[in-house]
Amino acid sequence: MSNVIEVKNLTKSYKEIKALNDLSFEVTEGEILGLLGPNGSGKSTTINCILSLLKYDEGSITVFGKDMKPDSYDIKAKLGVVFQDVAVFDELTVYENIDYFCGLYIKDKATRKKYVEEAIDLVSLSEFKKFYPKKLSGGLLRRLNIACGIAHKPKLIFLDEPTVAVDPQSRNSILEGIMKLRDMGATIVYTTHYMEEVEMICDRVIIIDKGHVLASGTTDELKRLAKIDEKIIVEANSFDSKYIEEIKSFKAVHSADYKERVLTVSYKEGADNLVKIIEYLKKNHIKYSRVYSERPTLNDVFLELTGKELRD
């Protein structure tokens, strides 16, 4: 598989603030690459630089093996972008909006009509074709936003936090649609700060913070960086600190932390950890509402790498 995007030593500053700091990564053909990072980490800036919407100070960007410039219309013909903010005309209906943005790429009327219908089907907006954006719910608007970005069947799609402020049903529909696009042969760059989404759809993940790459790899590869194998979560209204100290001394415990009525016990390795914790709770007559085991998440990786949480 060849590289569709190659970003090398990209640097971009806004006055005193360095938004991107020597950022380098590649995107391979046919994959969904997740760009994961907290708000302000440089995800959108990276995408805007790749799209030539922003000038950058240093570094190089090649897309489909060519330097990306504002007038690289041959490259742009293969790109599709779904912006974080909904970018549609309030004056046009759902169909007219998709038709307009598709029309910026596809000249042939019949082909365009077919593509527009397919995009509408993909995001399940068939019932709302004649609706104006103001009549759509937030979730439907997001789906329209996606359809406008992908109707022309691009080979490389940028999705910049497309599920922000979307209800769970619409979110699932959007994520399924994205996977369908990948299966149809598109390469996707997906930025988000929702780690669950990344784990669900991304083939590879790059974790960004303060404009540079902290780590990259598949979700499993990244989770290994977290240095924990299992987390036991105990939900309890109160927890005496002496018990927390005792738990910390258990074999293989990496950390134990009680916060907001939740005790999180992290284990370096996992075998019968849940059973041991339940037995301890029983033995000490500690009341709890729920106890369960969890695999480490990308948030744990981020926490391990930066000392802060993704959503901080």
Partner: protein
């Protein structure tokens, strides 16, 4: 076609406000031309004169009174100017503009004049133009009298006879111009006002439509598309020009309703052609403003500043000849000035040869040069804004 269709759809979505704005401005232009008085005809005017005649039996004095009565609204006072109360009566009449000029004919005026004395008439005046007119009448009479006196006319009766015979000899003057000056003047006012109404209308409508296309995210989406940015801009410019031509056609049709034959005369066609070129220029100005302003709330203010400002400075409402030099110097930097200048030249044209048409075409050329400059400026600004 996609961009064009979308342009029309956005226009359609805003049709009520656009029609309202277009209608009000164009109607206002028509109303203005109907209510503006630009009377260029001359009419005789008679000053209010007063006379105190202390030489009632003198033939020359009587004839002077008769002459002034014939050419003015004459009031005879029986007053004594040396008396302060009587003098106050005269001063009050002058102050309240009941009279503009007072002539005092002293005692034995005729006899002394015929004897060759240098007799002076005492006068009082309000100092305005009607007083000046009165003064002219008196001076004309006395000059004529002096002329015949110097020709050795010694009898007062004969002198008066000669004065009366010659003082009002008139020459007939015929205006050979076939221009319907009144109709052209009104048409000129109508088309000069267009510099305001068309500019305001186009800036308003084009900025409304362009603000939609220039919404940050929609602009970004367009910029990352494979459609050439210059092509996209050109299509939008042509769409705006198309709307502008429609607005111009309305204004022209309105003009036809108001002025009929004048509009389809050679003068009218030149007015129309000039206004067409100005409309294109106005469209480019509006397109330029539309490309730098994306805030809909700011549009109203910009419309007023640009259209009213340039129209005031360039003589759309007040004739340019009345404007101070400083204002006119600024006006030279605006296309409206050349448009109005061309209109003013057109309405005064008697013949349509190259000598008279050349300055009009130069003004039109300058307006088009402004249009080209605004297109270039729009492209430069848009290209800069394309990549932050």
């Amino acid at each position: 076609m996609t961009v064009f269709k979308t342009f029309l759809r956005i226009l359609n979505k805003n049709k009520m406000i656009i029609m309202l704005y277009t209608g009000i401005l164009l109607g206002f232009g028509a109303l203005n031309s109907r209510t503006t008085s630009q009377d260029m005809n001359f009419s005789d005017t008679k000053p209010a004169l007063a006379i105190i005649n202390d030489d009632k039996d003198g033939e020359l004095a009587k004839d002077l009174v008769r002459y002034l009565d014939e050419h003015g609204e004459l009031t005879e006072y029986d007053l004594d100017l040396s008396d302060s109360d009587d003098s106050k009566v005269v001063d009050d009449a002058l102050f309240y503009r009941q009279i503009h000029y007072l002539v005092y004919i002293p005692k034995d005026f005729t006899a002394r004049f015929m004897a060759g004395d240098d007799v002076k008439l005492t006068t009082k005046s309000t100092g305005d133009f009607k007083a000046e007119l009165s003064k002219m009448l008196v001076e004309r009479y006395m000059k004529t009298a002096n002329t015949y006196k110097n020709l050795d006319v010694t009898d007062a009766g004969e002198l008066v006879e000669k004065i009366d015979k010659n003082i009002d000899i008139t020459a007939d003057a015929t205006i050979t111009s076939k221009l319907d000056t009144e109709a052209l003047e009104l048409a000129g006012v109508y088309f000069n006002f267009e510099s305001y109404s068309i500019l305001a209308c186009l800036i308003y409508v084009i900025c409304i439509v362009m603000s939609v296309f220039n919404t940050k995210k929609i602009k970004d989406r367009t910029n990352i598309s494979s459609m050439d940015f210059k092509k996209h801009n050109t299509i939008l410019l042509l769409c705006n020009c198309m709307y502008s031509v429609v607005a111009w056609a309305f204004y022209f049709a309105f003009g036809y309703v108001l002025f009929g034959k004048t509009i389809i005369s050679t003068h009218g066609m030149l007015f129309a052609f000039n206004s067409f070129l100005f409309t294109i220029c106005a469209a480019t100005i509006a397109f330029f403003i539309g490309s730098i302003v994306s805030n809909k709330d700011a549009i109203g203010g910009i419309v007023n500043v640009v259209s009213l400002g340039s129209s005031f400075l360039c003589g759309a409402f007040v004739p340019a000849t009345w404007l101070p030099d400083g204002v006119l110097a600024i006006a030279h930097a605006l296309p409206t000035y050349y448009y109005i200048n061309a209109n003013d030249r057109i309405k005064q044209m008697e013949t349509f040869d190259m000598t008279s048409l050349k300055p009009v075409f130069i003004d039109m050329g300058i307006v088009m040069a402004f249009a080209l400059a605004f297109v270039i400026m729009t492209n430069v600004v848009s290209a800069k804004k394309r990549r932050a």
